[in-house]
Symmetry: C2
Subunit: 396 residues, 2 copies
């Protein structure tokens, strides 16, 4: 059975929140759990506006320590673990006992500890912070844990220059895998690659074969219901020899979907090597700066003379100077890792995310800049909006 | 000239935010400046929804360190000092240079410093934190200031057991006064009393007298325009002897309005002694818990048997156990300090702040509980709602 997997964009803005774009937060929902990527201010407010229950968050991944990606973490933890909060009262006792695993760069652990301690916060669930340590980052000494804190791991880059994240509880049991690589930004930033466990192969093609041999299987192999062979093949992954000697091969397992979620970056190259799928399902890439008709309108409003419209090169140069990307840069990376879908996010506050014709026109302009740089794959590029949910399809 | 003074409630909820009540934040606007009291998460979002400009904030007062009163501070500072933010571009260069003065209990200073440092935040204006130190609070050593931080004062209780806050820049020049007293809650909490400078007395009554003596003043005292005497009387505050020997007395100065804003509390008695006005203009008091029809409805929904409705005593006991107040307790304090208006806030998330008949009915119930305990002064009690502005009138 294929597990439903979707991604809800709780916030899609950069730096300042606006009426239509909150700070960054991305909720990946799989198998009844929510894994949260980044947690800007008012992420809990966005949860309240969405259909997602924040009490279902089991893991939180921070891409980098800029405030617009993490200022909402402590308040979210307070609310999502408050067992008096009606929104959380459906959580089982088990869910209330399992620690929340939080991953991110230094000094996430000491900052969160200081914040929870300074604000006298009591959480209704334990938590721990696993720090992904870049070269020269000091190792937090864990000397005085917060009341609700458990010791977390210190994760160093392995010999491949990759962070292999330890997973716990359900994610470990089910065989998920998360890796991260350092990507280039004005401060230490991470790209995460999440890989689902493989799922059993499709059985449809085997059904007529078993039906054909049903009588022989009943008589010679004493199977009262030959169709149970289907489950056995999936479970054992071993061939089965039919009464006539034919080998019934188990269907090839279907590789789990791979999701790539990047922090702010002007160059995420290092992530390419942890993308093991030939065709990752989704890439979520920032596109903070773009060149659209707004730039020309603003120039006109300012009545600057002489009037010299910016070029794509100007915009890319400015974006990179601030550690950011343009839609074209995002598309180039999408092409490089051959992803199925590219979702742009982290838009400047000037790119409104509402339904007005003006906003839609500008966002379509931005999308088209990426489409053109992504082999004109018009169906495969999206601009995220707040509270929009993208359903990650299983294609193989 | 009397300065316009108003109070906007940016957030009126407690603990969890709801669709109709955000976390605590109160903007007192006087003389073109905003003084902010508390700064819960998403206060900057509330500013965006209001008519107030966050770039006009000059002083921030934190009542206590619970997260619902301060989690929005660092993100607000980042946004309000971002001189690239169009909302702040009307600020003068002077406004961009003057430090933001932040007052509150320990460990506000070290927490804010850690937060801004950990998130690589660069502010567009300097700030400093003045800590109001309770008995046994350690003095922050200020060893390594944040890049945008200036040293702040350490304010100890004076011999009257009162915090006299040092004011700077415009507030000092104009003669404002702010004092605070420790009030009882589950953690160190403060009640602030803000006193406007006195303003010149009313001149209306003097006009006919001067008119009567105008001819004599012109001839004998050589005043080409006798009405200028009005300004002289205000400025010098000295009597003036008219040509016939009558003493013209300067009009008595009008005492500045006094505003009392309390943090969470189950007993704010200590504030009474810093209320120097016989008739303070406004008291803002929390009323987290109340007994309303909702309690009976919830009991019924839960189908608890035997059905035993809570009493006012039960609710007051529970409120106090959590360090909070009921509307009746707020009214008792309003009566004690003889304030002109009582505004209730910090409502539990169950008390919605919208326009639905159900919500209005419950809030009117809460208001009436306070009215009954405040000598039935129906016109003088208000329940705050998000984004509601209360105009503080000059009554004398």
């Amino acid at each position: 059975m294929v597990v439903a997997l979707d991604i809800t964009f709780l916030g899609t803005g950069s730096a300042q929140p606006s009426a239509t774009r909150n700070h960054q937060a991305i909720a990946l929902r799989t198998d009844g759990e929510i894994w949260l990527f980044d947690c800007g201010e008012a992420t809990q407010h966005q949860f309240q506006k969405s259909k997602l229950k924040m009490g279902k968050i089991t893991r939180i991944f921070i891409t980098h320590m800029h405030g617009d990606h993490c200022f909402g973490l402590a308040p979210l933890l307070c609310s999502m673990t408050d067992n008096l909060n009606p929104a959380n009262q459906n959580n089982s006792q088990d869910e209330q006992r399992i620690p929340i695993d939080i991953y991110g760069p230094s000094p996430l652990r000491s900052w969160l500890r200081t914040t929870l301690t300074s604000t006298y916060s009591n959480l209704g669930r334990p938590y721990r912070v696993h720090e992904l340590l870049f070269k020269d980052d000091p190792v937090d000494q864990n000397l005085s844990l917060h009341n609700n804190e458990l010791p977390g791991e210190n994760i160093h880059l392995n010999s491949d220059h990759v962070f292999a994240l330890p997973l716990f509880h359900s994610a470990l049991e089910k065989g998920y895998r998360v890796q991260a690589a350092p990507i280039l930004h004005s401060i230490s930033s991470l790209g995460y690659v999440i890989t689902e466990p493989d799922s059993p192969g499709k059985l449809n093609a085997l059904i007529p074969i078993i039906k054909k041999h049903a009588a022989a299987l009943k008589e010679q192999h004493h199977l009262s219901n030959p169709m149970t062979l289907l489950g056995d093949l999936q479970r054992t992954n071993q061939p089965y020899t039919l009464p006539d000697g034919t080998q019934l091969l188990p269907p090839p397992r279907r590789p789990g979907r791979q999701i790539v979620i990047l922090g702010d970056t002007y160059d995420p190259s290092a992530v390419a090597k942890i993308v093991t799928s030939e065709n990752p399902a989704v890439l979520v890439h920032e596109a903070t700066n773009a060149l659209t008709k707004l730039d020309f309108m603003i120039e006109k409003q300012n009545k600057r003379t002489p009037y010299s419209p910016p070029t794509f090169e100007d915009v890319e140069k400015r974006a990179k100077e601030h550690g950011h990307s343009t839609p074209q840069m995002a598309a180039a990376f999408a092409k490089r890792i051959n992803c199925q879908k590219l979702i742009l996010t982290h838009f400047s506050a000037r790119y409104r995310g509402d339904d007005s014709p003006e906003a839609k026109e500008v966002m379509e302009e931005i999308r088209n800049l990426a489409v053109a740089a992504f082999d004109n794959r018009d169906q495969d590029v999206f601009c995220a909006r707040d509270l929009w949910t993208f359903d990650v399809k299983m294609t193989s």
